[in-house]
């Protein structure tokens, strides 16, 4: 077999992750499994491998949401909203950089509207904003996007539920064991502690790790502000070799 070298990973701390069944987030009630998860004491190649996107060809503007939805002519405008850089490092739990991994983001526009056929919010679409980006981390685990700060928006949960401004972030890591989708929030947003989705996390320190910090040193003067958001994937443990067959 070609793939005979696998890392194992630090086990996932499911008390730190959100509760699957969280009644204040109403949709979770009918979608959270009721049986306990089956724990794999001996993960196999199926769990310890995963797709490597290091050589997956991306487009030149895939990580630049300010430019990647303009319809083509030089006269086209830029999206409305606060221009920001969102950047950070992907590291594992031992602070080792996760290089060459796929990081994908999606978000609402500055008015809180998604470019999605099912988003019925009355805020307008921005003709110059798609709201989707992707990039591959560099050798030190760094990623970088340019975008606008998304707006908060109402959603049907309680009568008057509002999501804090957020960007959805997806990271693959070295195997399907490290696969992770999360949300990035912004420092200082008063809606964060009121959000039933944020509050699926029990530990305030877990919430704090999802709050991007203003990174003024990385701002571009007279151009855009910057926010720093580091991502930690499961730590790789010892390597073992399975018998080749």
């Amino acid at each position: 077999m070609a793939q005979n070298k696998h890392n194992r990973f630090v086990m996932r701390d499911r008390q730190w992750h959100p509760r699957p069944y969280a009644p204040a987030y109403k949709t979770s009630v009918a979608r959270a499994p009721q049986q306990p998860l089956v724990s794999l004491q001996t993960p196999t190649a199926s769990e310890l491998t995963g797709p490597d996107f290091d050589r997956f060809a991306l487009g030149r503007f895939d990580n630049d949401l300010l430019l990647n939805f303009r319809s083509g002519t030089a006269q086209d405008g830029l999206p409305i909203g606060e221009r920001i850089i969102v950047h950070g490092r992907v590291v594992d739990q031992y602070n080792k950089p996760v290089a060459g991994t796929l990081v994908e983001i999606w978000q609402a526009n500055a008015g809180g509207k998604y470019r999605h056929i099912k988003d019925g919010y009355l805020a307008p679409l921005d003709p110059n904003f798609g709201g989707v980006g992707r990039t591959i981390t560099d050798d030190d685990g760094w990623y970088r996007f340019r975008t606008v700060k998304p707006g908060p928006y109402p959603w049907p949960n309680d009568v008057n539920s509002w999501r804090p401004a957020h960007i959805h972030v997806s990271v693959m890591g070295p195997s399907i064991s490290t696969r992770l989708i999360t949300q990035l929030y912004f420092e200082g947003d008063p809606l964060i502690p009121l959000c039933p989705i944020v509050n699926t996390l029990d530990d305030p320190e877990a919430v704090a790790t999802l709050v991007a910090r203003l990174d003024k040193a990385a701002a571009r003067p007279m151009d855009c502000l910057a926010y720093r958001f580091d991502i930690v994937t499961r730590g790789a443990l010892q390597t073992y070799f399975e018998n080749a067959s």
């Binding site: 077999m1 793939q3 630090v10 996932r12 730190w16 992750h17 959100p18 509760r19 699957p20 969280a22 987030y25 949709t27 009918a30 979608r31 959270a32 499994p33 009721q34 049986q35 998860l37 089956v38 724990s39 794999l40 001996t42 196999t44 199926s46 769990e47 797709p51 490597d52 996107f53 050589r55 997956f56 060809a57 739990q93 031992y94 602070n95 994908e104 983001i105 998604y114 470019r115 999605h116 056929i117 099912k118 798609g130 959805h168 997806s170 992770l180 989708i181 999360t182 989705i197 699926t200 877990a206 790790t209 999802l210 580091d230 930690v232 994937t233 730590g235 399975e242 018998n243 067959s245």
Partner: protein, 207 residues
């Protein structure tokens, strides 16, 4: 900011999960959101028509605790090639990619599809071969941390019976991982219903 903890040596906590939400498609399945494709997309074609192996389709649906199909589900699949090897170097130009993404469109009543080849047998760490299977990951609104499961095939009786992984599962629940060959379809096609809750609740894994 992230701080180190002292379990497992000096380590940082993993970034916690949050739901992928109802609009996951604009980021990861652009066609379903109504967005134009970029130069390359990761789609439901795990294997192209010219890949080695038996071409099959997986036709699946996820059912919630009320018995309703989860129409905003987003599914990822990871599988070995026809020789039982995980091909980790993902490239759009490869005939066999090993990884795919699928989500139902508005008119699909919750059904999603993968186009692939039947995977070969991968060795269990103990040395015995596992039965052919596809690893699936489920993301959606209301799912706060994604769910891992496996799909096995109903026409692989012998392989399933000898699979050390499959047979370690509680006997009453093994059947929840079996996809059924659809004998009405023109192309070899398997149907797989995943139940998030209830008496037929699918086995989900922690690893």
């Amino acid at each position: 900011m992230t701080r180190p903890t002292h379990d497992e040596g000096l380590s940082y906590p993993e970034t916690p999960s949050q739901t992928a939400g109802p609009f996951v498609h604009i980021g990861l399945a652009l066609d379903v959101a109504g967005l134009p494709p970029r130069a390359s997309e990761i789609g439901p074609e795990i294997a192209a028509a010219d890949a080695t192996g038996e071409a099959i389709e997986i036709h699946g649906r996820v059912i919630d605790g009320n018995g309703d199909p989860v129409e905003d589900i987003f599914v990822e699949a990871w599988q070995a090639d026809a020789h039982g090897v995980y091909q980790t170097d993902y490239r759009a130009e490869h005939a066999f990619r090993g990884f795919g993404r699928s989500a139902p469109s508005a008119t699909d009543d919750g059904w999603w599809t993968f186009y692939t080849v039947k995977p070969g047998r991968v060795a269990h760490p103990g040395g015995q071969p596992m039965a052919p299977h596809i690893n699936l990951m489920l993301f959606a609104r209301g799912i706060n941390i994604h769910l891992h499961t496996r799909l096995y095939f109903d026409d692989e009786h012998q392989a399933n019976a000898g699979c050390p992984f499959f047979n370690a599962l509680p006997p009453s629940r093994r059947d929840t991982l079996i996809a059924r060959r659809d004998t009405q379809a023109d192309t070899p096609r398997y149907r797989f219903e995943i139940h998030l809750q209830g008496p037929q609740e699918t086995v989900f894994f922690d690893f």
